[in-house]
């Protein structure tokens, strides 16, 4: 037994350091690469409202690099009551930004926090370059004219920070992420890449063909991995069926029966597994349509040496798939299956070797030098690549037709979006139901052009209900639970944007905490 040998390696050499231990539960989600992206990020948060500090709490804890809170206000008795990152009465009258930064910074010594008591308006007037040093800007319940100016400024140039605009009122809320382009290599897709049983690479096909199932040692027979069984069964089938895989239901049934008939003992679970996985033989491994669609991306037709590495890698992928067998590069990740150690490890080696060969082919069509680790990650995650193109904040509200179609497809969520938009559009501190209704109506195509269902659904039922709620219950209540809920949702999305892992929202995310649901517009 190798235990004594094992003990020669000192566990202390590999035991995690205190930072790894602190972040253990999140590193299991986004790994060191995601963590380093977070640590290099710089966030600007506009206002130290209850919602803003809730968002920040969830970003300071996992370890962003820097945050600045921009807020000229002093703490009011009301703020001191609904914001956990103010110290009750003792904070009243002090700078809201400074108090919040002090208490948020306590959460994580590795994060730098800064309070800026200037006004956003003055910065927009005098120092528009202010924003360039940030990765991402979050604004909560910003006055609509300022939000308009800010979003316009940040949209002007795609090197400027991402803008997350959050609006909330009582039990309702919504947020939107403004970005030009967002590329994701590791989307943590839940679909597994193909094992290519239907297009077995030569070493796999040869190995399957070389096995003598009939005269094999019975113990070995019980341990042949299902991948090998299927590759062999499919080759044998094709040899007697004009080179075709099973096509009809009857043929598929016959194929499965054939697989089970290979058993020499009733309890050979590897053959049961093979039967259950037999569909892989007639599911053709192709480039997934979501990935083919990416090959049409305009960035690919205008590639230059200075284009982002992602698009060079994507173009290499496109070239790779033009060659036979017209698939994505093979990944070496093999699921667990019934087998003994030797046969499983052998199979794993076949996949690993082939994956290395295909990666070499991939690299040979790559037009610019890119480091191996980046290529590895790209190839490994090729089946889940994403390119998102964002929209300008507010563009939906200047497009009545798009709003009308949103009303048709998701009336409940759009009703809330309209209510919150109307609230922002009406400047009166105590808006009336009528004023809000008119403001919402003004965003939609003129009434005469509306289908009947539209006005019924929106005008009569949804918007009025919501608007009554909003106007009767002061429109800007920042409730602690709503702030915490939005704080969590927004922070999740910010983490996804910064780490470029997982998939962020596309559009407005809307929240109703009366019936407790979220929706998308």
């Amino acid at each position: 037994m190798a235990t004594s040998e094992a003990m020669d390696m000192t566990a202390a050499e590999v035991a995690p350091d205190s930072k790894t231990r602190r972040y253990d539960r999140q590193l299991r989600l986004w790994a060191a690469s995601g963590q380093s992206a977070l640590e290099n990020s710089r966030l600007l948060v506009i206002s130290a409202s209850a919602t803003s500090t809730s968002v920040l709490k969830n970003l300071v804890l996992p370890g962003i690099g820097h945050f600045t809170i921009l807020d000229p206000a002093t703490v009011t008795p009301r703020d001191a009551g609904n914001n956990f990152f103010l110290e009750g009465q003792s904070s009243i009258g002090k700078s809201r930004a400074e108090e919040a930064v002090r208490l948020l910074a306590e959460l994580n010594e590795g994060v730098e926090g800064k309070a800026d008591t200037s006004s956003l308006e003055q910065i927009l007037d005098n120092n528009p370059g202010y924003f360039a040093s940030f990765t991402l800007v979050i604004a909560h319940n910003l006055e609509s004219k300022l939000l308009e100016r800010l979003s316009t400024l940040l949209w002007a140039d795609d090197t400027l920070p991402i803008l997350v605009a959050v609006n909330s009122a009582g039990f309702l809320g919504e947020f939107h992420i403004q970005f030009h382009e967002h590329t994701i290599v590791d989307s943590h897709s839940e679909t597994a890449p193909s094992l290519r049983i239907d297009k077995a690479f030569p070493a796999l096909a040869d190995y399957a063909a070389s096995l003598d199932f009939k005269n094999m040692d019975p113990t070995d027979h019980t341990h042949v991995p299902y991948v090998i069984i299927l590759v062999r069964a499919l080759a044998d089938w094709k040899a007697t069926h004009d080179g075709k895989s099973p096509q009809t239901t009857a043929e598929k049934k016959q194929f499965k029966e054939g697989v089970l008939a290979m058993k020499i003992k009733i309890d050979e679970e590897n053959f049961d597994e093979a039967e259950a996985q037999a569909y892989r033989c007639w599911t053709e491994t192709r480039v997934p349509s979501e990935i083919t669609a990416l090959f049409q991306d305009p960035q690919l037709s205008n590639l230059s040496p200075t284009s982002p590495p992602f698009f060079h890698l994507l173009d290499a992928l496109r070239k790779f798939t033009l060659q036979p067998p017209h698939t994505l590069p093979l990944t070496s990740t093999l699921p667990d299956m019934k087998a003994n150690t030797a046969s499983y490890i052998h199979l794993q080696k076949l996949y690993k070797t082939r994956a290395e060969e295909e990666k070499a082919t991939f690299k040979s069509v790559l037009a610019v030098p890119i480091d191996d680790a980046t290529v590895d990650t790209f190839v490994k995650n090729a089946h889940g690549l994403k390119v998102l193109r964002g929209k300008r904040y507010g563009s939906l509200n200047t497009n009545p037709a798009a709003l009308a179609s949103a009303v048709a497809s998701s009336p409940k969520a759009t009703a809330i979006h309209l209510a919150i938009s109307a609230l922002a559009a009406v400047s009166s501190p105590q808006p009336t139901v009528e004023a809000l209704t008119a403001a919402a109506q003004a965003l939609l195509p003129p009434g005469s052009e509306l289908p009947e269902e539209f006005s019924d659904a929106v005008g009569e039922v949804f918007v009025l209900i919501i608007l009554t709620c909003l106007s009767a219950r002061s429109p800007n209540a920042d409730l602690p639970n709503s702030a915490a809920f939005l704080g969590g949702l927004v922070a999740q999305e910010v983490i996804k944007m910064i780490t470029k892992q997982y998939v962020p929202i596309d559009g407005y995310c809307v929240v109703d905490l009366v019936e407790t649901w979220t929706g998308m517009v």
């Binding site: 253990d24 370890g63 009582g170 039990f171 150690t341 602690p480 702030a483 009366v514 407790t516 649901w517």
Partner: protein
């Protein structure tokens, strides 16, 4: 107004409590009465002072609950600090309940938080009777089952006060769920047991003879080698030296079998069954739980009916639905569960089946019929006396359509099964 309540302290919340909304129950009495109940009378219990618990306590305190009790049996670990925001480095090793309670009372003046550093099972019915509402923020299925069953058993139809709404939250990575349980009225925790993800269990023969994955090597070190080398010495998965030993032993086995991928983090993940956890998901789910508590306590708006599920890995996807009560739920259903088994099945195999079944999941079950004992896990004398039955067929002991009662020390209820044979 209590001394600590400064003018406008509850300005935002009072906007909700002073006026009914369009979806508010007509029974809602806006104004001082509901505020007085929330701030001076309501007594709320929080189970767990961890990832969800810290968030729940902060939200409840800000919302105006002033008499909060919290139970947690754990102490603070460094790996909690990435999300359990009431704790600091200096608190590592201290009881979570105590540190969390002190932090809340300091930050939110006038809010009283009473901690209990111990197990929920230490408390009796009288203890649970004193609360208006219970919120669970736990990571243990066992503890949730216990709490849910306890509150169902507490319901006395003659006494409306005995019905304690239970709000339960849970998270894993970017996913989570929150639900409202009205014991005996809506679906309880036990009713939804089959919704849980099935835990990966590695067969012992794979671990012992045919390891393929790094996990198999780790399980070998933990399940087979640890007891062989250390005898009765208990394995402490929070002790870095123990994890270090398991890691080196697993790594050596992996090397012997040419298996790649045994790391310290994976070793720890497998032996501790670590679930990834982040502040943001906990914030969403805890907020949702506290929002339901606030709405139920004040009747200021309709509350969740009854299950909210969130998936944040691909956009923001959520699903709100009514989970239905199960008539054959062993806790709140009242009907026996029909179970059809092979006439050849032995008692031992039958016990394995009960452990395996997604809707039963009972660890160490003891079995009896209305007239006889079949098998008891404890006390030792009874275990010994009933052990010979393990090899017998169930059919020899239980007639067709006969009833079997299943109990377990980990659960405060028994399960009635009606057995038929195939």
């Amino acid at each position: 107004m209590a001394a600590a309540d400064w003018q406008d302290r509850y300005y935002d919340i009072d906007q909700i409590l002073d006026t009914p909304g369009p979806r508010t129950d007509p029974a809602f009495l806006a104004g001082d009465g509901v505020k007085d109940f929330l701030r001076n009378q309501a007594k709320i219990l929080v189970i767990g002072a961890g990832g969800l618990g810290c968030e729940i306590l902060a939200n409840l305190a800000l919302t105006g609950f002033k008499d909060i009790h919290v139970i947690d049996m754990d102490t603070i670990d460094i790996s909690n600090l990435n999300r359990q925001f009431l704790f600091r480095q200096k608190d590592v090793g201290q009881p979570k309940a105590t540190v969390a309670a002190e932090f809340i009372m300091k930050r939110v003046p006038g809010c009283k938080v009473t901690p209990y550093f111990g197990k929920i099972q230490d408390k009796d019915d009288d203890y649970y009777m004193q609360f208006n509402l219970v919120i669970c923020g736990l990571d243990s299925v066992e503890a949730r089952r216990w709490m849910s069953a306890t509150l169902v058993n507490l319901v006395d139809p003659e006494n409306p006060e005995s019905l304690k709404p239970l709000i339960d939250g849970g998270t894993e990575g970017f996913k989570g769920q929150a639900r409202v349980i009205l014991p005996t009225i809506t679906s309880c925790y036990e009713c939804s047991l089959d919704m849980l993800n099935k835990q990966t269990v590695f067969p012992i023969c794979t671990i012992a003879n045919t390891p393929r994955l790094p996990e198999h090597c780790i399980e070998w070190a933990s399940v087979l080698e640890w007891p062989r080398v250390h005898g009765d010495k208990p394995k402490d998965t929070d002790d870095p030296e123990h994890i270090g030993w398991l890691y080196t032993v697993a790594a050596a086995r992996a090397k012997e079998f040419n298996i790649e991928g045994v790391t310290w983090a994976l070793t720890q993940g497998v032996v501790k069954n670590i679930i990834p956890a982040i502040a943001s998901t906990n914030a969403i789910i805890a907020a949702s739980c506290c929002n339901e508590a606030f709405k139920i306590a004040t009747s200021s708006a309709a509350y969740l009916n009854n299950y909210f599920m969130l998936i944040g890995t691909d956009g923001v996807y959520s699903y709100t639905f009514e989970h239905e009560k199960r008539d054959d739920c062993p806790v709140c259903g009242g009907e026996a569960l029909d179970l059809s088994i092979s006439a050849e099945l032995t008692v031992e195999e039958f016990i394995d089946l009960l452990i395996e079944r997604q809707d039963i999941q009972i660890k160490k079950p003891s079995l009896s019929t209305p007239t006889a004992q079949i098998y008891f896990q404890s006390p030792p004398q009874l275990e010994e006396a009933t052990r010979p039955n393990l090899k017998k067929k169930v059919k020899e002991l239980v007639p067709q359509d006969g009833e079997v009662t299943v109990t377990s020390t980990s659960l405060p209820f028994s399960l009635s099964l009606r057995i038929s044979y195939t």
